[in-house]
Symmetry: C2
DNA sequence: TCGGACCCTGCCGCCGGCGTGAAGGTCAAG
DNA sequence: CTTGACCTTCACGCCGGCGGCAGGGTCCGA
């Protein structure tokens, strides 16, 4: 299948697919004319990539899951490195959420108490 | 006072102060040699800018607070626009936090249930 | 007069996941 | 042969708040 079909099948854009390839997450044969030709298992692979991205991982992170992105993805256990990466990413997410929550709290408080006067306690 | 002094007095870097000026949040006279010369009230102004930034506002947002960044900041009531901006920003923060919380939840869940098998339910 | 601390403007880099052209090649249908 | 859909690579734009460097000027003390 060609890039447009793969895109339609996965919800990604052709541009995104090329991006994944450049990131080393996706490979393709080439037709004589230069067109990318994807294998039978490509759609599943792409869906798995996008799933991991949706979990908050980066393209860099997803590399550690390469071994388990092939074929029947619902099997193959992820590598220990993959788990470690995911856990670290989880910690990063937690930290980020906590920081933003603190900011949000301060802003909300400022909005409340400044019903009276002063735009900032600086 | 010159930029280095203002920086030392406020915790900002000279680079950041020039950035605020470029964003239209800060003004300075010029000494004959071209050096920026800041007024008496500049430190307070900068501290207020940084306070608002710390609340999660952007430089763009802070513009709406310009009228109340002068001199004695603990007075002067913020403009209605300023309030509206702050509230909108609060909503943005809420949305972002909610989205990241959802992501975090999915990742955590994936990590838990995948103690057994399958790296992604795709 | 010279060194060195301080300042100036201007511009690219960063982080991430692509979007959006530009400029051109390929292929099947009419 | 031509149209037009699809593909190729290359390369900049974005968002935000600066960091950091280049290349040069200013000013003060010794």
């Amino acid at each position: 299948m060609r890039i447009g079909e793969l895109a339609a099948a996965t919800g990604a854009t052709p541009r995104a697919l090329r991006h994944y390839e450049q990131a080393g997450l996706l490979t393709a044969e080439r037709a004589p004319g230069g067109y990318r030709v994807y294998s039978h298992g490509a759609p599943a692979r792409v869906r798995n990539i996008r799933c991991l991205l949706g979990l908050g991982l980066t393209l860099e992170d997803v590399r550690f899951f390469l071994p388990c992105l092939d074929g029947d993805v619902t099997q193959a256990s992820p590598s220990p490195e993959g788990l470690a990466v995911a856990r670290r990413r989880l910690a990063v997410l937690d930290a980020r959420i906590a920081a933003q929550g603190a900011v949000r709290g301060r802003l909300a408080e400022a909005l409340e108490e400044r019903a009276g006067e002063g735009c900032c306690a600086g």
